[in-house]
């Protein structure tokens, strides 16, 4: 039975690795300017973790195969090198892996979080709420009017709680249920939630960031490929969590301008 167990372990290890090697299930195509180091980091980690997984399972299987049917006269033996070899192997192998992954990881993380958005980045505001995202564009004046939480009303479709009558900056603000961005233009996304915690996840853009009640957070990214993508919520926010999503259209500058004009007319 020991030998059968060993074979099973090897078979499981190989079968588990195949979909990874073939990328049957893999990350969506990257359409961001900052995603390359993240993808590289993912591939490197997958190689290191994958090799660790397969080799350890093989060694486990090998030893079970070899030592599970002892003959009566057999004596126990000790691994040459003993525990010291194991500790050194763990410290050196994993230690190096840790240092390498850690250092490269810092670089990848820094490209996302430690680089400020460019001064000319296009500001777009996103508000999360149970169970929808709404977006706001500043309009020709380039300024967002203030939000009045007590004015927020689903009933009157005043999702952001703007007071267009009294706040001049709000007058030309454009509120939409879909997000559109011009291709190859940096976006500065200003995030807040009106109720509980939510999250903004676009796999293709390599961004995921929680909305935190009481905090104004921001992200910046540049989309490089025209197309229609999905924004999904990844922070459990209530019974409609599974259905909290919005479309993100990456458009050519011309299409974007037209889209914005159309949305402005609807306000």
């Amino acid at each position: 039975m020991g030998k059968f167990f060993a074979v099973t372990i090897v078979a499981i290890a190989i079968l588990s690795a195949i979909p990874i090697l073939r990328h049957t299930w893999w990350m969506a195509e990257d359409i961001s300017t900052h995603g390359a180091p993240i993808d590289e980091q993912m591939s490197e980690t997958m190689a290191e973790a994958g090799i660790s997984f397969v080799v350890s399972q093989f060694v486990l299987a090998l030893f079970i195969w070899k030592f599970s049917s002892p003959k009566p006269g057999d004596k126990i033996k000790n691994f040459p090198g003993g525990a010291k070899a194991m500790v050194w192997a763990a410290v050196l192998l994993v230690g190096t892996e840790v240092m390498a992954l850690g250092l490269f990881g810092v670089k990848a993380w820094a490209t996302v979080y430690f680089t400020p958005p460019a001064a000319n980045a296009l500001p777009i505001q996103v508000q999360a709420g149970q169970f929808a995202f709404y977006f706001r564009y500043p309009g020709p004046d380039g300024k967002f009017g203030p939000i009045h939480p007590d004015h927020i009303s689903e009933a009157t479709q005043e999702f952001f709680g703007l007071d267009r009558d009294h706040d001049p900056d709000s007058k030309d603000d454009i509120v939409t249920a879909e997000m559109a961005v011009p291709v190859n233009r940096e976006i500065h996304l200003l995030m807040h939630t009106k109720d509980v915690g939510h999250s903004f996840f676009v796999p293709e853009l390599r961004v995921q960031q929680d909305f935190v009640p009481g905090l104004d957070l921001s992200l910046h990214f540049t989309a490089t490929k025209v197309g229609r993508y999905e924004i999904v919520c990844t922070q459990l926010c209530g019974l409609g969590h599974y259905n909290m999503k919005a479309y993100l259209s990456v458009l050519s500058q011309q299409d974007y301008d037209e889209w914005l004009k159309k949305e402005a007319a609807l306000q």
Partner: protein
Amino acid sequence: MHDVAKHDAAAHHAPTSFIGKHVFSLDHKVIGKQYYALALVAALIGMSLSWLMRIHLGWTNAAIPGLHLLTKNGAPGDVMTPEFYLQLMTMHATIMVFFVLTTAPFAAFGNYFLPIQVGAEDMPFPHFNMMSFWVTFVGFLVLVSSFFVGTGPTLGGWTQYAPLSALGEVGGPGEGTGVVLWALSIAIFCVGQLLGSLNFITTTLDMRTKGMSLWRLPLSAWAWFVTSCMGLTAFAVLMPACILLILDHVAGTSFFASSNIVINDQMQPHSGGSTLLWQHLFWFFGHPEVYIAIVPGMGIVSHVLITNMRKPMLSHRVLVYSMGALAVLSYMVYGHHMFVSGMNPVSSLAFSFPTLVITIPSTIVVLIWLGSLYGAKLRINAASLFALGFISMFIAGGVSGFFLAQPSIDIMLHATYFVVGHFHLVMGVAAMFGIFAGTYFWFPKMYGRMMNETLGKAHFWLSFVGAYAIFMPFHYLGLAGNVRRYQAFSPDYMQRFIPLHKFITVAALCMGAAQLIFIYNLIHSRFWGKPATDNPWQATSLEWSTPTTPPPHNNFGDKLPEVFHDPYQYGVESSVGDYVMQASPEKVKTEHDEA
């Protein structure tokens, strides 16, 4: 250390009434069995809930006959509503994490065997011990009662992120009374674990018999000791957090809810709270909790493997130091649950490094296990199969930790099925395998009968293959962006995941069915199993030196044992075979020396 000469057997009277013997028992062995029974009931409930969830994920609009009996409004026409899915999910996780993974390997086996393995007649505070079980039991009842109260249990997940959990019914069904009952249940559970941890620590440090130095403790005893130290600090943080959460509901406070929250066009009456505060408090407990679930498994598996390899581990001390390192580091890594939470990105890097470093002691443990297998005379039985299966699962679930330790990759994997696959393998399945290994190994001592080996092996094979079939695909789904905690996969790009979810559901139902073999084996062997001898596995530690099987009320009869050897003297030549027991005064050649 306990002095044999001072031991007064008469001071430890066996109870005579049914209630004193089986219900409000002060005997650590009965309390251990009570914990085990509680964990078993909880595991069956938790598993049944996961079956319902899995069926719903594979076939979202399918009616599940009889589902309406479980809920007032959650299953019109026996079809699960989105909120009922989330409620089942929350209860599945809470029951499994607290009342199974914490209760069985630590409280159940630890209660039964720690005092015996150190050579004591009981724990130092038997009343605290009894209280710890009954308090835990009440906690369980409170949690389950939320199914029958108001709008049902909370839907906020076992992490209960604020402010969803702090706002009351306005946040969703179960977010009022359901959350209060959840937090109350967990606070009560914490009291039970604190009492238990105190007893474990004192037993280990103060109740050891003559000759039982700390280094002569078996690895299972070390694991329980390390775990109880973690429990003492981790549960002490979770309990006040739960109390604050309850206050937000019943006393009008705003610890976890910020200002300007608008739900249903209404401003909520909260201000000034911090939603990230809950996450910090929760995960400061939550990450050590992962190790509270798995470290006892490491100890049990080491103990079981050594007996079945007929040789000690490459190094007893290195394993103990590694478990200690895991315990200490487990407090420094909790922030990796919060990389995308809006926490300062510099903190993310600060939490990332210790998270990567914690893989070093984990790797050392695995390599010591693998290296020790070399040259073994390995016996294959249900207990050793589950112990070896534990190692395989621990490796499989462990390597995915490399990914989640890195904030940049976490952007892609956070809150996806990758995480669900990771923790189910490394702390769910692995810990369960530890429980199974312990059960097949210790059952003869606990009940005086052997378990059926054939059924045990069948149980193993189905569970081993089943666990991989369920949880390995979770990783693939996560990589492809499948978000967790969705009751249906509504985004367009997730449509292609549904066939794989159907496959996982079938695998889960099969693996679940395999657990019924175990339950049958447990009950059948309890009453009709082959009678066990005092030491059926030719093992060395003190639990196999008791004068009767199961052990008498005071464990060792009139005289506490004296210990003469390190715990694992296998592969030696003695009068009884290839081992010598800790309590045997026999001198042997080539004794393994750890001290």
